[in-house]
């Protein structure tokens, strides 16, 4: 899809921002026209097909390490990142392919990173868990659960302190919320927000499992969004499978954070229809039936129904899928044909300076 930020802007001005009161879930007022829906569909299909290609690469042993796909959760990042403005920052954990693609990274470079090639987004040094595209506002890509949350809060402080007008979208999972890093960082966000010094939009992607541990098995208080109240942070919930609902809540939340300099949290209820990671084969922790039930609420499937209602014809949908498939085929070919990183890269980027860094031996 290769959405450039500028396209991004054009697109956003196209779709009418509709204020739904207190960002509560999709009301008819949130409904978008055919063209806007088609655009969202385009993005979501691109993400899904990217992830499918990435998993093929993993199964073929061409993608290594840990890899976590976003399939099933597309509506969340697609909705929220539609509100992205230049100068904003976005940070998430390791399930990061969708976010960086939505911000405009070239699928070729992203796929090449997964393949560990020198043409990769981070020169093959980070891999799936550590995607970065600072030029497009994407600040990673982190592998330690909870570890990126304080970073996002600090970045938001930096934006307010330097009066850049930007906000930080900070994504975290239902498993990460129980980590001490969340508690400490959210408390700082609430505290600094009192002085308008924390334009941080927390996006809690509740896909109902932390690896194999369901929310019920991780905490006695399963109302995760409510946990933000401990820090004086307002919050709402949204159906994370309904991209229009997400978009409406995201717009309102982003505007509010931008205006107030205070943090705000949205809990998006979603589901990963794929295993936790590419190496999670057994899935003993959930039933086939449960997965099947949720696949019926696949955000892409739901959106296709909406496109039907809006009278978008099958050719148009087929064309989008075909284009997306072509994009991903191209990305895979590019990744496969790209050279490995130059060995000299091993010792660079440890320090900014030309400090001598020892090789192995």
């Amino acid at each position: 899809m290769a959405t450039t930020p500028s396209q991004g802007k054009r697109r956003r001005s196209a779709t009418e921002p509709t204020k739904s009161k207190n960002g509560s879930s999709a009301s008819p007022g949130n409904r978008l026209g055919a063209d806007a829906l088609v655009e969202l569909y385009d993005k979501m299909v691109n993400i899904r097909l990217f992830e499918d290609a990435a998993q093929r690469g993993f199964r073929q042993g061409k993608v290594g390490g840990y890899m976590h796909v976003y399939s099933g959760q597309e509506a969340v990042a697609t909705g929220f990142l539609d509100t992205y403005r230049e100068g904003d920052y976005v940070i998430t954990a390791y399930r990061d392919h969708a976010h960086v693609l939505l911000l405009g990274s070239d699928p070729k470079a992203v796929m090449a990173e997964l393949y560990g090639k020198g043409t990769g987004l981070v020169k093959g040094k980070g891999g799936s868990m550590h995607l970065f595209d600072v030029a497009n506002g994407f600040y990673g890509g982190y592998g330690i659960v909870g570890g990126h949350i304080p970073l996002g809060v600090g970045m938001a402080f930096g934006q307010a302190y330097q009066k850049t007008g930007g906000i930080t979208q900070l994504y975290l999972g239902d498993g990460a919320i129980h980590n001490g890093a969340f508690h400490e960082a959210a408390n700082l966000a609430g505290l600094w927000g009192r002085d308008g010094l924390n334009p941080c939009l927390f996006v809690l992607e509740n896909n109902q499992y932390g690896m194999g541990t369901s929310v019920e098995r991780a905490t006695a208080n399963t109302d995760l969004g409510k946990k933000f109240e401990s820090y004086g942070i307002e919050h709402v919930k949204v159906d994370g499978m309904d991209v229009e609902a997400v978009l409406a809540v995201a717009r309102e939340a982003a505007d509010r954070v931008r205006e107030t300099g205070k943090p705000f949290a949205v809990e998006a209820l979603t589901y990963r229809i794929m295993p936790h990671g590419a190496a999670d084969f057994l899935e003993k922790y959930r039933t086939k039936e449960e997965v099947k039930k949720w696949r019926e609420r696949d955000p892409i499937g739901l959106l296709e129904k909406r496109l039907e209602d809006e009278g978008v014809d099958d050719e148009r949908i087929a064309a989008i899928r075909a284009a997306a498939k072509a994009t991903m085929d191209e990305a895979v070919t590019f990744a496969e044909e790209s050279p490995d990183p130059d060995l000299s890269e091993l010792l660079t980027d440890v320090y900014a300076s030309d400090m001598v860094v020892q090789a192995a031996g």
């Binding site: 592998g143 890093a181 932390g210 991780a218």
Partner: protein
Amino acid sequence: MPVITYRDALRSAMAEEMERDERVILLGEDIGVYGGTHLVTNGLIDQFGPRRVIDTPIAENGFTGAAIGMAMAGMRPIVEMMTWNFSFQAADQIIQNAAKLRYFSGGQVSVPLVIRGPNGGGVQLSAQHTHSLEGFYGHFPGLKVVSPSTPEDVKGMMLAAIRDPDPVIFLEAGALYGTKGEVPEGDYTVDFGKARVAREGSDVTLIGYGRQVPVLLRIAEKLAGDKIDAEVIDLRSIRPFDSETIVQSVKKTHRAVVVQEQWRWFSVASEVAAIIQEQAFDDLDAPVERISGAEVPAPYARNLEVAAFPAEQQVIDAAHRVLYREG
């Protein structure tokens, strides 16, 4: 003796001790219902139930600290760090509480705790998921730190660890989970603080631990082809540390090469070199050589990662250097 994998040896040690001792419980992330990300605890929840095989939230500091409290209350908890890379979040509990409680309580409190999990690099796990923490934890008095390399040792040392009255940092060689070896029948323990001569030799002493040991044995065979008779020492235990076995060996061979995946600075290899020059100064015919990983966070790309870890050829060359021979 039955031949089983390093992974199964670990599991059987825990299962057998849980059978014997009600106080032994396991806790960690996804060790129960999920089966354990490395399958070390696979099946144990069916055998012992969720009261003794406890899946925790993602809260390393919290559940490690809670396990210390359980140990203070007379239990014998075994904490799984899904990987040791996550233990930085628990460093405060491990270093400030587990290691020091007996001392600052004037001996009133014991912390019979095992913290275990895979340590060292995998394949393309990249910067945040690749650490070898032997020296990092070995620095602290009050902790015991071990790093077994064979199925026999990993079982015997796990049994010793569970029965130990003090906290044990049990660093498993994740890369060796699938490797097989003979394991004695029945109950046995392998004491800490005793290194193992994995291969006898007279020309040069190759020193390593964990994942490096099979590599060093392979290298020793290659060196034999060059008419170099290498002795291979498996440290096994990092704290307490067996200086004597190393010094004895060097007094025989007069030369030593220490190999580690870990970074060079302020590391296990630094200590080994320091000890040898202290205790075998007059016996050394060449400086102790250290072969370590590159001084970089672990890269993702496979070619970079391979270059970041010590290479067999580097060890072979070092062995030739200390013998003042051409490679």
